[in-house]
Amino acid sequence: MESKKGYSKPGEFKPMDLLACAAAREVKDGEIVFAGTGLPMLAIMVAQHTQAPTAVCIYESGSIDGRPIDLPTSVADARCSYQAAVADGLTDVFGQLQSGKVDLAYLGGAEVDLYGNVNCTFMGGPTGKRLTGSGGNSDIHSLAKRSVLIMPQLGQKRRFVERVSYITSPGWKIPHWPDKEWVPKQQVYGPAFNGGPAAVISDMGVYRFDEQGEMYLDTVHPGFTPEECRENCSFELNIARCQGETLTPTYEELDLLYQVIDPEGIIMK
């Protein structure tokens, strides 16, 4: 085996490993991070074990900077509060979010569009298939400085669309109610504007948003081509800015995921 800091080779990692590690790399040390259940939790934990040891994780249930020794399976899991700085409730953490204290948020969704709008309420709009609804997805996307969306893509092009069929969470361009005019997020949020989607990370690539708030392919995961990424979108994805391949998980990161963070095999089966 290579040195722990070395990058693994294709075949040495699963798609989900790369998803988690690519996501983890979005965190800068010292940042305040709001995370959801599942892969987002794994990503922030990998980051805390590597480049961002003083990053702080907040869960919307109210726990702040927990230091779980066993992987939580929901944001209200008793494990989230283990050695936490504070364990209070929603009013505390949503207040902090709204006042601009959250640097980065990790979220999932069922559908994302060209502008980073996210849907986790209805596939196909209010007459379509019902999902869970927003939870904190909308609030966190609305108010965090940067948000990172973690989504499956391969073979699911209906999840990457020109316009989501229901906007649960705002991207870079959104309607202004009640007049329905589509305008930049900053225009709607005014002084409360803190930022917006920074990246979408799928099992095929890492996507970012350009000056117009439109999604483009930033790096493609090893084993895929930019064209394949485009084919797995329902809109004409901009692949012209692709910088090359996404860095694979390091051996250290893989070790963290399987041995340290999720040794029980709850998410990393």
């Binding site: 008793a78 009013t91 709204q98 869970t132 927003s134 959104i174 040794p263 095999g265």
Partner: protein, 324 residues
């Protein structure tokens, strides 16, 4: 009356009327008053109006059993134990239930406003999102914003150009449920309530509600809780009824006491993919048992013990959770 009555679950739930607006303490699949949910279903409550900071297994059960007329919340699911609330989803898709979707802060604010005696609270959350799309004002479209229902206001929300920084902001109206039912670890014999672990939005939803039922693992001497008043959540005068019922949160989890019964919830989710499936499930676990005691007997001691938390950790250190 400054002090609550200690009553049976049947008696407490018997106070709730068809058509009442209800909310619950807890968060998703944690610390939910499940024994009360079963009893609401057993007593065949109808046309309840749920207003929930977030939903969970308990909401989906009430909906499946036909108890719910209106559902307002930000979320309904089972965390990792089931993808979404199947009963709710099916009824929404078939147009068999009225609902309003909210962002988490919206609905938290609605109940916080209710708790503070305010008609509304402001927030910047979810501007530009479809919960605020005027076309998605479902209660309005159903003609229910005409003053006929005291729980339904004139406006789902209002955009307000506020005069201090000239920003546009969302004002959401207060909600004051008739009842909140909350499961907690401890209540004193005069009604002081302590919650261990995260408090979620319990204080807000309890204070917003006209009447409160507290279901507690144990009733303890007041004096014990009052030694550390900073750790208590509520004084007794905010509580109407106290029910002592250990394990009353099963299958949801209870910090420091027991884990969620993930397998039970996953089985429930599987059953609820059809109405018939839910009906069979309810026949077995709700109507098929006389009361919560019989339900616990049916679960059996070894299943319950397998969920028990390690006191040093607040959760189980022995439960098998993953694939390894």
């Amino acid at each position: 009356m400054a002090r609550p009555k200690v009553v049976s679950l049947t008696e407490a739930i018997g106070q709730i009327n068809d058509g009442d607006m209800l909310t619950f303490g807890g968060f998703t699949v944690w610390r939910r008053p499940m024994a009360a949910i079963y009893e609401l279903i057993r007593q065949k409550k109808r046309n309840l109006h749920l207003v929930e900071v977030n939903g969970g297994t308990h909401d989906d059960m009430l909906v499946g059993a036909g108890c719910v007329g209106i559902w307002e919340s930000s979320w309904c699911g089972h965390e990792l134990y089931g993808k979404f609330g199947s009963n709710l989803a099916r009824r929404i898709e078939k147009g068999e239930i009225l609902y309003e979707d909210w962002a988490h802060i919206h609905i938290l604010n609605r109940l916080t406003a209710g708790a503070k005696g305010l008609p509304f609270l402001p927030t910047y959350s979810a501007m530009g999102c479809d919960m605020l799309n005027p076309e998605n004002d479902n209660l309005g479209k159903a003609g229910l914003r005409n003053g006929s229902n005291p729980h339904i206001g004139k406006h789902k929300y209002m955009m307000y150009k506020e005069p201090f920084t000239d920003s546009e902001i969302v004002l959401v109206p207060a909600a004051n449920p008739d009842w909140c039912i909350t499961h907690v670890q401890m209540a004193g014999n005069e009604g002081t309530v302590r919650v261990e672990g995260l408090k979620f939005s319990d204080q807000e939803v309890i204070k917003a509600s006209k009447h409160n039922i507290i279901i507690t693992e144990q009733i303890v001497p007041e004096e014990y809780l009052r030694r550390e008043p900073t750790r208590n959540m509520l004084p007794g005068y905010l509580v109407d009824y106290i029910v002592e019922l250990p394990w009353g949160a099963h299958p949801t989890g209870l910090y420091g006491v027991h884990e969620p019964d993930g397998e039970f919830i996953a089985d429930f989710f599987k059953a609820t993919r059809t109405q018939e499936g839910f009906d069979q499930w309810a026949e077995e676990w709700i109507f098929g048992v006389k009361d919560f005691q019989e339900y616990l007997n049916k679960l059996g001691i070894s299943r319950l013990e397998s969920l028990r938390a390690n006191p040093a950790l607040g959760y189980s250190s022995t439960m098998k959770r993953g694939s390894r």
